[in-house]
Each structure stands twice: as structure tokens, then as C-alpha cells.
């Protein structure tokens, strides 16, 4: 019994870490830069699919799967390829959508991007095996270590930890930098930021690409751990749920992103996953869970939009210097 519990908790840790990649990524594009990336989950799928077809060998008749590439390369090469593919797609989508337009238009285009990507993934079976999706993706270090399948999770946790730690450090650097400050200014008021010299389109595009890379990494970790990915895993609801997690936890705050991943992905989703399904109505529990999440995020936005951990007010420590300085060494009175 204790062994099963360890195993279950270990899986939770992995799901949590992967979700942190998602919320941290959305925290850059939406939390800090204010980009309504309603296509977000598409980049997760891109990372997953490209990592999958990199790690898998070429599609053979025997495997009954159809997909492109099949490079049979090990981790972390597939991680790099997956993350890059996601970033490239993020760049293309951003170039199309990030312009001096209203948020509505941006959101509409991004929803359309998801819709098309999802439709193509389902219909173009030669790409990533269509509706059935990829299966049998080799897990990182698995062939080398050859552990009991149940124990593999304990191998994966440190891998995921390292990856998420890197993402966390990058997020920290962004949050505490002039770049991050510029993103927030653009979020607060795009027109004023532009009038004060910020290249707002470029900044928002950069934020979106960073977010998409994070999502791609999350996708890579997902497919590497679960060995499979199909379109069901990235329906439009998944984007709503990542938004919910970030908003509940606290957008604009890297710890808020982590807290949101914990509360929504682990507490709510895993928590309700423990409820036994009702025979004949298997979808009911998950339907009610999603309704609950929707209500929670609306309530948070209404009553406490900053979330559980609001964006921190940064303090800067430096002595006052007299203004203005006309030339070095020239003294100024009062």
C-alpha cells in the first residue's frame, strides 16, 4: 500500500512540474506582457509532437503509426527540437497576430490558430498519426537504465526538476529586469509605452515566443513521460484551464504561477479525479470539474483579479542623487 501511494504521489509531482512550465510560460506572455494567448495549448502540442517524432524511429508498416520524421534521437536532443519547433510556431503566429490591434482581434486570431492546428492534426494523419496520435515514444534514459516501468517515475522526476528549474531561473531573470519592466509597461498601456519609446510590437512578440517555448517544453516533458500524445490532450479547454491556474495563483508573479499549478492542476483536477466515475455517465465528474474551474476563475477575476499571490511591488535601493546633472563635476544647488 505505501509503495502505491509513493508511486501515485511521484506521478503527481511530475504532473505538477509539467504544469508549472505551462503557467510560467503563460505568465510571461499574458501575466507580464498582457497578450491574450488563446492559442497557448497549441504550442504545448507542437513541442510534444516534434519531440515525439524526433525520439521515435522512422514510421514503419509494422508499427501501424503514420508520422513525419522519425529521427531516433535521444533526450535532450528531442527536447531542444520540440522547444524550438514550438518557438518557431510562436514566432509565426505572433508575426501574424501581434500588431497594433485590439485585444479582441488578437484573441480571435489565436483561437482560429488553435482551431486550424487541431483540425490539421486530426485530418492530416501522415503528420502525427491524426486522431489516434503518437504512442510508444521512448522515455529519456529509459533504455540506458532499464528500470521497472513503475519505478521510471523516480528517474523522470530529477529530469523534470532540472528542466523546470532552468525555466524558473529564466522567469526570475525576466521578472527582475528592465525587459520585464518594459513588458509590464506595455501591458498597462500600450499607447503610452509607445509614446515613451518602447517598441511595443517587438516586446509583445518576444513575450509570446518565450511563452510558446515554455509551452513547448511542457509538451516535450508530457510526451516523454506519458509516451503518447493525441489531439484530445490539447482541446481548447486546456488553454482556459492554464489561464485559470495562472489567474487563481496570481498572474505577474512567478510564485503565483507555481501556486496556481498546484491549486488547479493538482488540488482541483487530481482531487476531483479521485471521485469514482458514475457508471453510464462517465463524463459527468469531469464536466462538473470544468464548470467549477470556470466559475472559480470568473469569481477570482471579479473579486480579486490579482489572484492569490499578487504581482510583487519591487523596491529599488539607491541613494538620492541631485537632478539634473549638466556635466560631470558641476555642482547643483538644492
Amino acid at each position: 500500500m505505501p509503495y502505491d501511494l509513493n508511486y501515485y504521489l511521484a506521478n503527481l509531482v511530475v504532473y505538477f512540474l509539467i504544469y508549472c512550465a505551462l503557467t510560467l510560460g503563460l505568465n510571461v506572455s499574458f501575466g507580464m506582457a498582457g497578450v491574450l494567448d488563446f492559442s497557448f495549448i497549441t504550442f504545448m502540442a507542437t513541442g510534444a509532437y516534434f519531440a515525439g517524432v524526433t525520439a521515435l524511429g522512422p514510421a514503419t508498416a509494422a508499427s501501424e503509426l503514420h508520422y513525419i520524421l522519425g529521427l531516433n534521437l535521444p533526450f535532450p536532443v528531442d527536447l531542444v527540437i520540440g522547444a524550438t519547433a514550438a518557438g518557431v510556431l510562436g514566432l509565426l503566429v505572433g508575426l501574424l497576430a501581434i500588431r497594433r490591434l485590439r485585444s479582441d482581434y488578437l484573441a480571435i486570431v489565436l483561437v482560429a490558430v488553435w482551431t486550424i492546428a487541431w483540425s490539421l492534426a486530426n485530418n492530416l494523419t501522415g503528420l502525427f498519426d491524426g486522431t489516434s496520435g503518437l504512442i510508444g515514444v521512448p522515455q529519456p534514459l529509459e533504455p540506458q537504465l532499464n528500470v521497472n516501468p513503475n519505478d521510471y517515475v523516480f528517474v523522470f522526476i530529477p529530469i523534470a526538476l532540472v528542466v523546470i528549474a532552468v525555466l524558473f531561473v529564466v522567469s526570475y531573470c525576466i521578472e527582475n529586469s528592465p525587459f520585464g519592466r518594459a513588458l509590464r509597461a506595455v501591458r498597462e498601456d500600450q499607447d503610452v509605452a509607445a509614446a515613451f519609446g518602447k517598441q511595443t510590437t517587438r516586446l509583445r512578440l518576444t513575450a509570446m515566443v518565450i511563452g510558446s517555448v515554455y509551452a513547448g517544453v511542457a509538451g516535450v516533458l508530457t510526451i516523454e513521460f506519458l509516451t503518447a500524445m493525441n489531439p484530445n490532450a490539447w482541446a481548447i479547454v486546456e488553454t482556459v484551464i492554464v489561464f485559470s491556474a495562472l489567474i487563481v495563483g496570481g498572474r505577474g508573479n512567478i510564485f503565483g504561477a507555481i501556486l496556481g499549478a498546484l491549486v488547479v492542476r493538482i488540488l482541483i483536477i487530481e482531487g476531483t479525479g479521485l471521485i469514482p466515475p458514475i457508471p453510464g455517465h462517465e463524463e459527468l465528474v469531469s464536466a462538473f470539474r470544468n464548470i467549477f474551474i470556470g466559475i472559480v476563475v470568473i469569481a477570482v477575476l471579479y473579486f480579486r483579479p490579482e489572484g492569490m499571490l499578487p504581482e510583487r511591488r519591487r523596491r529599488y535601493f539607491e541613494a538620492v542623487r541631485r537632478w539634473p546633472r549638466r556635466a560631470a563635476g558641476e555642482q547643483q544647488g538644492g
Binding site: G34, L36, F38, L96, A97, R99, L101, R102, S103, D104, Y105, A107, I108, V109, V111, A112, T115, I116, S119, L120, N123, A235, I236, V237, V240, I241, F243, S244, I247, H281, E283, L284, S286, A287, F288, N290, I291, I293, G294, I295, V297, I298, L301, Y302, P305
Partner: protein, 291 residues
């Protein structure tokens, strides 16, 4: 050649469905100034309500469609009064209300899933034989859809041009602050536009389900961006533009089947959306200051 002409016929049907939805969406945007991302789910609601009335209560299909549309408009009114408008009043940022409608989409689609289940549904209507109307090949159902859309467009036109309430809608669409200053009862107009929007959403969802025959809770969501494409092509907030956009997109989508596999025909709408956004984001009949 005949295939192309038949496609034009289908194009008119598709255009009719899109037009019903697009006009509802664009009218609501014109008055409230935010896009309702749950609109597709209101369409889905209309389809499922139609199914219930048709299959469970055995009402004739066109009556079911009409009643379902009315019920959907009630749902839209309730949601707007209880949730969306109070939210828009309290939090002025556009970002928030868009996320709220996005979350509303999550709630609605799952409520539909919870009530009706995830299996595919179909209306209780038989297969019909197509009639030859000139060069076009359409079933009586198709004709019914086109007629319904045409009547609805006429109704909207009359509303906007002949009634005080419709003229008020146009005034608010042009400048919300100005309208409230000159004494037009903005809140009542907003409520009315949600009723109309819900009505058209329910109607379009119902006929969409009729057209695709077999549907699941994702019916509206998958079609939503096609509606968006029509709305943006016509100029956001412009009902006549939406009608024009619907016609263009409906025809383009169906006629494209002549050259590309049918599974990708909706993607044509995406291409049009992209082209419009790159070349003329304000749409064909644009209003200054909206985009």
C-alpha cells in the same frame, strides 16, 4: 461544371448559417464593445435544445428550431444580466471580460456535456431528396435554411432602420458615451441586443446541426472562427458587413471543395481571415476607431 454550381448552392446554405450567427455576434459587439467567446456554445445550446424539442417532445423540426432559439435568447439574457454586464461595469479592462467569456465557454460546453452527454446526436428528420432549382441542387431543408436566414436578415434590417430601438443600437454602436449622454436608455438596449444575439445564435446553431446532421457538444466551438472570419471580413460591429462577409465566406468555403479535399474546406475561412488581417484588418465596411 455542375459540381461547381452545386457548390454554389451549398455555399448559399453555409452562407445562410454563417450570416445568422455573424449578425448576432456583430450586433452584440457593436453595442457592448466586447467579443463573446462563448458565442459558439450558445449556438451549440440552440442545437441541443432543438434536438430535445424535436426528439423528446416530438415537435416539428421548424417549430423546435424556433422555440429553441427563444430559449437560447433567454439563456443569453440571463447570462448577460447576471454575469457579463455586471462584470463589464465593474472591471473596465477589456482583457478581463474576454477571459470571462472564454471561461463562460468552458462552463457552457461542459454544462451541455453534463446534461446531454458526449455522444453524437442527430435530429429526428428523414433524408430528403434534392430538388433542382435552376442550376442548383438543394433539398427542401436547404431552402428552408436559406429562407430563414433571409427573413432574419430582413428582420434585422427593419429593426435597425425602422424602429427607435434599432436606431439607438446603431447610435450606441458608433459611440457608447454619446448615446448615454443624449438619453438613450443604454441598459435596456444592451439587454435587447443580448436577446437578439441569443436568438440568432440559437437559430444558427440549430440549423448548423441540421446541416451537419451529426453533432456533439463541440459543434459551435469548431465553427466559431468561421463566424469570426465573416465578422472581421465585414468589419467588426457592422451587421451589413457581417451579411456580406457571410456570403463571401460561405461561398468560398463550399466552392473550394472543387479543388481541395472536403475535410479542409473550413480552413479556407482561416486563410481568408489571415489575408484580411494582413491587408485590411478593419474589414470591407469598417467603422473608424473600432479596430
Amino acid at each position: 461544371m455542375t459540381i461547381a454550381l452545386h457548390s454554389v448552392g451549398f455555399g448559399l446554405v453555409t452562407a445562410s448559417i454563417i450570416a445568422l450567427a455573424a449578425v448576432g455576434l456583430t450586433l452584440q459587439f457593436g453595442v457592448t464593445n466586447y467579443i463573446n467567446f462563448a458565442y459558439g456554445d450558445f449556438m451549440t445550446l440552440g442545437a441541443y435544445l432543438t434536438w430535445t424539442l424535436d426528439s423528446a417532445f416530438n415537435l416539428p423540426i421548424w417549430l423546435s428550431l424556433a422555440l429553441a432559439a427563444v430559449l437560447t435568447s433567454v439563456a443569453a439574457l440571463v447570462v448577460s444580466q447576471v454575469l457579463l454586464e455586471p462584470f463589464a461595469r465593474r472591471h473596465k479592462q477589456l482583457l478581463f471580460i474576454l477571459i470571462v467569456t472564454f471561461a463562460l465557454s468552458l462552463i457552457l460546453s461542459n454544462a451541455i456535456l453534463a446534461i446531454w452527454g458526449g455522444d453524437y446526436h442527430e435530429y429526428n428528420v428523414g433524408l430528403e431528396t434534392p430538388l433542382s432549382i435552376g442550376p442548383l441542387l438543394l433539398t427542401p431543408q436547404d431552402l428552408g435554411i436559406i429562407l430563414l436566414a433571409a427573413l432574419s436578415m430582413l428582420g434585422v434590417h427593419l429593426l435597425l432602420t425602422r424602429t427607435n430601438v434599432g436606431k439607438a443600437m446603431r447610435a450606441i454602436s458608433d459611440d457608447k458615451n454619446l448615446a448615454s449622454v443624449t438619453g438613450i436608455a443604454t441598459e435596456q438596449i444592451v439587454a435587447l441586443v443580448w436577446i437578439i444575439s441569443g436568438l440568432l445564435a440559437g437559430l444558427s446553431g440549430g440549423v448548423l446541426a441540421l446541416d451537419v446532421v451529426s453533432f456533439d457538444p463541440n459543434l459551435g466551438v469548431r465553427f466559431l472562427f468561421v463566424i469570426f472570419a465573416a465578422v472581421i471580413l465585414g468589419g467588426i460591429g457592422r451587421p451589413y458587413g457581417a451579411m456580406l462577409g457571410a456570403l463571401v465566406i460561405g461561398l468560398a468555403v463550399e466552392v473550394s471543395v472543387v479543388v481541395i479535399p472536403a475535410a479542409y474546406k473550413l480552413d479556407v475561412a482561416f486563410v481568408i481571415l489571415v489575408v484580411v488581417l494582413l491587408l485590411r484588418p478593419q474589414g470591407l465596411l469598417a467603422v473608424a476607431g473600432k479596430a
